[in-house]
């Protein structure tokens, strides 16, 4: 098993760091899956009453100048590593002015991701900061636990309002109730509602627009033929939603929310660097956040719908 990669471009470094920061805020441990062309950050949620379940896919060519990987075996040319994203964030946090950042899989005392940051210095030779981040190698028999999540049919898909606005609305609603209802229809209208014994508060958003889903693989079938005015709704644990919105370090240009048939709700943020998707496992009780991050809009190939 070998892995070696290098980032030299400051903008790429910055974006990669921000993605790591987002992930570090969502999960204590995380899986890094390496293939020849892509990196995946996966969190397979096993928490019974909801939590972040995350699937993040990055095209290595969009970040790395050099990227070499040799998997566990020729016919299984992949590597799965378990690590603490907070550690990786710590290594990248102070690397923002680096000349180059190299990542390597090593095995000195134990398997580690060695991040070597070359920093500019006052003298002719650079400063080198090396971080050894311990990782656990996931054996092949467990790889199935981290498969791509399948995406069910959805009812409604809508672009979200400006995230900052949505964040502050949800933040305030959090003080009043534990659950929030998200309603949306195909006419670009969305409501955020909370209801308690004493008070009910609704924030209305209009003219948001609905993304035109190409009918690839028939994924949009249940949404077609739907009455454009009728609202699809989903009830979600408000703390999880707020945590997701607060953790956002990547700035999406557009955000999407897709409602599934009554038992799931998916929130998706689409941007030049991010798609975030948020879904619920079962009504009222469970919350599952699904995060998909792509590097370019064309990666947003409706793979997850």
């Amino acid at each position: 098993m070998r892995f070696r990669a290098k980032i030299v471009d400051l903008a790429c470094l910055n974006h990669f760091s921000r993605i790591i920061n987002t992930i570090a805020k969502l999960a204590k441990t995380c899986i890094l899956r390496l293939t020849v062309c892509k990196l995946y950050f996966i969190l397979s949620d096993k928490v019974a009453n909801g939590g972040a379940s995350m699937w993040c896919e990055l095209s290595q060519g969009n970040f790395f100048d050099e990227f070499q990987m040799e998997g566990v075996a020729a016919e299984h040319n992949e590597i799965y590593l378990e690590f603490v994203p907070e550690n990786l964030w710590r290594a990248f946090k102070t690397a923002q002015s680096a000349k180059a950042v190299k990542i390597k899989l090593t095995n000195k005392h134990c398997p580690c991701l060695r991040v070597a940051v070359e920093l500019p210095s006052l003298s002719s030779s650079s400063r080198i900061v090396t971080h050894d981040i311990p990782v656990g190698v996931i054996p092949r028999r467990m790889w199935n636990d981290f498969r791509e999540p399948s995406v069910p049919d959805f009812d409604v898909s809508i672009y979200l309002p400006v995230l900052k606005t949505m964040k502050s609305v949800v933040e305030r609603m959090k003080n009043l109730s534990n659950f929030i209802v998200i309603e949306a229809n195909l006419s670009g209208e969305m409501n955020l509602k909370i209801e308690t014994d004493l008070v009910s508060v609704t924030t209305h958003f209009k003219d948001l627009g609905n993304p035109p889903w190409a009918s690839e693989d028939g994924y949009q079938s249940s949404a077609q033929g739907r009455d454009v005015e009728s609202m699809a709704e989903a009830c979600i644990d408000i703390k999880k939603l707020q945590q997701l919105l607060a953790g956002q370090q990547v700035n999406p240009t557009k955000a999407l929310c897709s409602k599934f048939n009554s038992s799931a709700c998916e929130l998706q943020l689409v941007g030049s660097f991010a798609i975030l998707s948020f879904s619920r496992i079962s009504v009222f009780i469970f919350v599952c956040l699904k995060v998909n991050i792509f590097t370019a809009p064309e990666d947003f190939q409706y793979l997850y719908f």
Partner: protein, 332 residues
Amino acid sequence: GACFLSLAVFGRAIHAIARISDEFWFDPIEKGLALRSVNSSRSAYACVFFSSMFFQHYCWTAGTQPCQKEKQLSLPCKLIIKSVLPVFRCVNVLERNVEKCSICSSPSEQHITFQLLCRHGVVKTYNLTFQECDPLQAVFAKHMCPNILKVHSRLLADVMIHFPSSQEEITLSVTPVKVCFKSYTEEDTDFSRTMLTEIQLSPEEFDYFQVGVDSAVTFCLKELRGLLAFSEATSVPVSIHFDRCGRPIAFSIEDLLLEASFILATLCEAEKEAASPEPNCHLYKYCIFQFHSLFFGAVSYKEKAIGDTFQSLVTASDTEEELGALQSSPVL
């Protein structure tokens, strides 16, 4: 009594010393005011000396005459840091809001008064009781160290930022061509759970670089952070004096108005003592500098009336050399 020229600097000194211990020695002498502190395990010592010129107004009267036999000592005294810290809480805003700060001692009433004259006519007075105590002083022959580095505090801050704030100890290792700071790990560290960080620098980055003996010294970073913050506030370069592992390491800053020294014990690894007669002795020993307890108010190296030699842990074997060097080594 004393009035401040730079309150922020004084405040930062208090904060720096607070990292070492909960109490500190308040020791005014003719030349200026010394603040000293030592931690409970006697493995870290700090001394900040403000020359009388640092203050707008400095007035000191000797409490005792040298010929007097009886001990009539009200100063130096010990103060609890926790009671002083609130006075200098938000150092950044201090200078904006406080026009004048004065410190006076009233031995008869057994307290030291800190008085802040603030804007809008507000006067804050803090009366802090003190305990009489024996003076504290550490002797460390800095000039005898083979390794001396001098560097701007900014560089040290840029290096330390790569370590987590929870990092307890780090190892500084030097050769004539390389300087390296790295996280320290004990033998029984669980590497599968520990993230390790290492920073390599070139000697060219230092204002002064002298390495007489290759060495790797491990010391407590947490205690040092106080000095680093303080030196950034004063923007005076930091000098680092050290030797082989086991000997103390001194971080100091010095300019016309003040001198500060933080002396930290370093770890001594058992492997280096192959000839040790006690195979079961504790793996690591902290070797520290000596303390002298002197019974005179003014601490002066000319008076070699050394009372009990205060040793709490293993002392360096060349004790005699250090005593002999008292003549020329600075009193801290």
